[in-house]
């Protein structure tokens, strides 16, 4: 593993150099965005020489948009009667062009790995994973809404990152963690980090909050039906307005819906983000809805993150980025839900 030391100027130069022949994305500086930007809300393509700096907290929207774009074309087809291939579904050409996502945080990087558990066999996710290089900042401090340490992550974590950049005393230390990261740094004139930097980094890592594994184990050991019947869901469901703000900004919410779109005889089958908060999510054609009530949907979201997913795959489906805590219009706080669940008899 190579470790480099960079000044702010050197960091910016490095990103600039990447952006000359690759697509490089960074968290957007402005709220508004051009309607023709080639990336999802909350991100922007690096152009010009705006410095890559560490803002407070994780970026507004999560990194999942690069791996699980909204929408993703699954198939294309023609409905023209003159076309011999009418109604024949064809797979679109797979994108292989490399993209670099710069400025994400350890929580988001970890979410990519968590989503990879259900998506291990998914061709689109895997293709995007293979073409995306992730260059992230570690966090020197945790925000008031962050809780990565409570769900198995760490503010200094590097899981999922190709290059991890830590700010140490006004300059940056970049750890190159994967072959993809090495490819990016190869040929660049970078100064190797000295022992002082490496020691400082190690000390920072040692001092960062440790994973609270007792909490994890406690929830995993609990009986599913007890938690399902717990009284906490009723008031929660009552105040929830069932919007999708939490799910759409959540890096580990990975549900999708599939629909066909047709314009003038040319069509595509797309998949796009769906939210278990919406009644339509589980509605049967017959009109029966297994989760027809608000409370049931709210419960499903938290149970999925904290119980169903761990039971199936191991870790919580939550990286503790705190976006849902910040964005919830009615202040439903997953940290409170977790502690409430732990006290359920």
């Amino acid at each position: 593993m190579k470790v480099f030391r960079l000044s702010q100027t050197e960091l910016d130069n490095m990103v600039q150099q990447w952006s000359q022949n690759r697509r490089v994305y960074r968290p957007a500086a402005d709220r508004q965005q051009s309607a023709h930007a080639d990336c999802a809300p909350g991100w922007e393509r690096v152009a010009g020489s705006a410095p890559l700096t560490m803002a407070v907290g994780p970026p507004k929207t999560s990194v999942k948009t690069f791996l699980f774009p909204q929408p993703e074309t699954m198939q294309t087809f023609s409905l023209k009667s003159s076309d011999p291939d009418k109604a024949l579904m064809k797979e679109p050409e797979k994108l292989t062009e490399k993209q670099i996502v710069a400025g994400l945080r350890p929580c988001d990087a970890r979410s990519v790995m968590l989503n990879n558990l259900p998506y291990r066999e998914d061709p689109f996710y895997q293709a995007n994973l293979a073409r995306t290089v992730m260059v992230g900042f570690t966090c020197s401090a945790m925000c008031a809404t962050c809780f990565c340490d409570q769900v198995g992550g760490s503010p200094m974590g590097t899981e999922g990152l190709d290059i991890a950049i830590s700010q140490i005393d006004g300059s940056f230390v970049a750890e190159v963690l994967t072959p993809a990261g090495e490819e990016l740094t190869a040929g660049l004139d970078l100064a190797p980090a000295d022992d002082t930097d490496i020691n400082a980094l190690a000390a920072r890592r040692a001092a960062s909050p440790q994973v609270d594994s007792a909490k994890l184990a406690a929830l995993k050991g609990r009986d599913l039906n007890r938690l399902y019947e717990a009284p906490l869901w009723k008031p929660l469901g009552e105040s929830c307005i069932n919007c999708g703000a939490c799910t759409f900004n959540c890096p580990t919410c990975y549900c999708f819906d599939v629909q066909d779109e047709v314009v003038r005889g040319y069509g595509r089958r797309i998949r796009y983000w769906d939210s278990c908060m919406f009644p339509l999510y589980s509605l049967h054609t017959s009109g029966h809805n297994p989760r027809g009530r608000k409370m049931q949907r709210t419960r499903n979201r938290f149970m999925h993150k904290l119980k169903y997913f761990p039971d199936r795959y191991g870790p919580f489906s939550c990286v503790g980025c705190g976006r849902c805590v910040q964005d919830c219009p009615v202040n439903i706080d997953i940290r409170e839900v977790m502690s409430d669940l732990l006290t359920v008899e």
Partner: protein, 277 residues
Amino acid sequence: MISYLPYPVRIDDIVVETEDGNLKTFKLVFENETQKKAWKHVPGQFAMLSLAGQGEIPIGIASSPTEEGHLLFTVNRAGKVTTALHQMHTGERMGVRGPLGNGFPIDTDMKGKNIVIIAGGFAVTTLRATLIYLLEHRQDYGKITFIYGARTPGMLLYRDEMKQWAARGDLDLHVTVDREAPGWDGLVGFVPTIAGQVAPSPENSVALICGPPIMIKFTMPPLEKIGWTDDLVYLSLENRMKCGEGVCCHCNVGPTLVCKDGPVFTRTQVRKLPVEY
């Protein structure tokens, strides 16, 4: 790696099954020989029927793996895709993606046992597949009891085949309708009632039950009365599905994904799940 690309198929035949015209059986043949050869399914599995421009729907496979060269799907007209499907004609192209799900345990738990099949309404489709398979491999199974009911004689599916099965003599066939109807000289009564009268003892037996939830609910007590336990009863769940491959999360019932872990579950398994189906 999962493929979400449906196999192109052509509609070879369409049979209107019921008097209300809402159920049609589509016979589909593969356009591609390799795909046709590669297709292997187990009774009880389902597939995604894909209509370009309309969408995909999960439908149980009504044909048995022993009926080679084509697939049968009996589809009730209910929503957007099924309505469009009902308007299609023989010779038109559509898509099939699958087979998906687990299917009935024909080679494991069912082998060598007496089989009781209880079906209500159009839930009989995958059980037709199962029965055909069982009859093809008759020597591998014990006594077969097939109980099937519908509202009226005109709502019974696969009527011609039923006549053939009745003539075979190596299975116990009970077809019933809810109410007396002109021209109907068969059984009259609800499926649970008939099941209570004709079901055999649970000894060395398994039961497969598919039907509306209310039918399943009332079929269980008479079976339990003669000693049937939950682990001997196989049910097939359904939920809204999108991917069919255990990825999109739509069909979850608690931690269980109906499309991947099911749709066939024992009643013991179902009882452990929250009632979200």
